[in-house]
């Protein structure tokens, strides 16, 4: 959790969920508010805060982590954050990248999950990132809500998504992969 006194990232502890503003300094609050409006370049319905890409914010730097090692959006995300910081008068705030601990879909906020669903992407089940890749529970169709769904391909249009289809409403849809 981010606090005014101890802004440092603590290994293993996820950030404040839903991008909630806690008892941070006004500058940190302002930066977090800016970042909450920076969309992910590949899934613009959610922000970099919603996705849990932003690991920590202090008055000096924003700490981010990539979702996948080969995610082609990594550079675009950094540039978008840079532009938002510069535009908001925080040109002196640095952006740093960390790989550890590795990003997990458990860090996607509840609000982010709802935004994904509304956008047509079935959100990943929570707490299931470590689950076996076999015998996954069926995804809930983001269009009709049915659980009568099946996996078409475990790899989809981006590294973070799998391709599913709903046998109730016959629509194909993306599912955010557990990671």
């Amino acid at each position: 959790m981010v606090t005014a006194q101890a802004p440092a990232w603590t290994a293993g502890v996820p950030p404040a969920s839903d991008g909630a503003i806690d008892a941070a300094s006004p500058a940190v609050q302002a930066v977090r508010a800016l970042l909450a409006n920076v969309p992910d370049p590949e899934i613009p319905a959610v922000s970099v805060i919603d996705l849990g890409i932003v690991r920590d914010v202090s008055a000096l730097r924003v700490l981010i982590t990539p979702t996948y090692t080969g995610c082609p959006a990594t550079l675009a995300i950094e540039q978008a954050i840079r532009a938002a910081l510069d535009g908001g008068g925080f040109a002196d705030v640095a952006i740093e990248t960390t790989l550890s601990p590795p990003w997990s879909t458990d860090w996607i906020s509840d609000r982010g999950r709802e935004k994904l669903r509304a956008y047509g992407i079935a959100p990943p089940p929570k707490g299931a990132a470590a689950a076996s890749l076999k015998n996954q529970a069926p995804a809930e169709c983001p269009r009709c809500g049915s659980s009568e769904t099946e996996e078409i391909s475990r790899f989809g249009s981006t590294p973070c998504k799998a391709l599913w289809r709903c046998t109730a409403c016959a629509e194909p849809f993306d599912r955010f992969k557990c990671h």
């Binding site: 996948y68 082609p72 790989l99 601990p101 590795p102 890749l133 475990r154 790899f155 990671h179």
Partner: protein, 248 residues
């Protein structure tokens, strides 16, 4: 051949080169796979591998300390300076041969990254822990296809057997240990029994038998590559060879 890099840089090069060359090979399937789902899968696996390569090669350049970054190492070295294993540079062949290569390699890579994630060198451990999540998907994908092809039609079964038979001779090199790996505290030989168990379990599911033992082919780690790597590099490195230093 350039001067030998420090042992830890050499470790990072091996990891990076394995991922880079496999990523490049897999990307050759893009737009050519037998079905759209397979095209997507192989392109995704290629992307993961190239992402991992960027991290490991970046680390190799950092340890080496001669100002070479991941791009420089990928595009400005010649065949003899590549330290990838021979398995990953093997041509794609038909789809079954590609699946066989991926199957043998991904299970090795998953076990290797799991061990590396516990490394006392935090830089290696961080990349491995992150990449491990990705590689689990690759191992599952490859295993599923070994079963589908092996326990499938007569033709698919024959091709799967032929693919495994071709790739099998390059498996021993994966577990060959030397003093360079020891610099990182890595004991690749110790991964062999877990790998054998995984491979055997999937082959049993696929109603296939282990290929007959081949005389192992070694040499990739020390730059003695098959003729195939040079052709791969000539395509991958074309732009930087024709226009050295060109940038976006």
């Amino acid at each position: 051949m350039a001067d030998a890099p420090p042992p830890l840089a050499a470790c990072a090069l091996r990891l990076g080169d394995d991922a880079l060359i496999l990523g490049q090979r897999l990307s050759e399937w893009c737009g050519h796979a037998p079905a759209i789902e397979i095209d997507l899968s192989l392109a995704n696996v290629a992307l993961d591998q190239i992402g991992q390569a960027a991290h490991f090669l970046g680390l190799a350049g950092e340890i080496e300390g001669k100002g070479r970054d991941a791009d420089k190492l990928a595009f400005h070295r010649d065949v003899m300076d590549f330290a990838n294993c021979l398995l990953v540079e093997q041509p794609n062949g038909d789809f079954a041969q590609t699946v066989a290569r991926q199957f043998l390699f991904s299970h090795y890579q998953e076990l290797l990254y799991a061990a590396l994630a516990e490394s006392k060198d935090a830089r290696f451990a961080a990349i491995a822990a992150k990449a491990l999540k990705e590689v689990k998907y690759h191992a599952t994908l490859a295993s599923d296809w070994v079963v589908r092809l092996g326990d499938g039609a007569e033709e698919s079964r024959a091709r799967m057997i032929a693919g495994l038979d071709w790739m099998w001779r390059f498996a021993d090199e994966l577990f060959a240990a030397d003093e360079i790996d020891a610099a990182l505290g890595l004991d690749k030989a110790a991964l062999r029994s877990a790998w054998d168990a995984r491979i055997d379990a999937v082959l049993a599911d696929a109603t296939l038998e282990r290929p007959a033992a081949h005389r192992p082919v070694l040499g990739g780690r020390t730059g003695r590559h098959s003729e195939h790597l040079g052709h791969l590099l000539s395509e991958m490195q074309f732009l930087q060879r024709a226009y050295p230093g060109a940038a976006w």
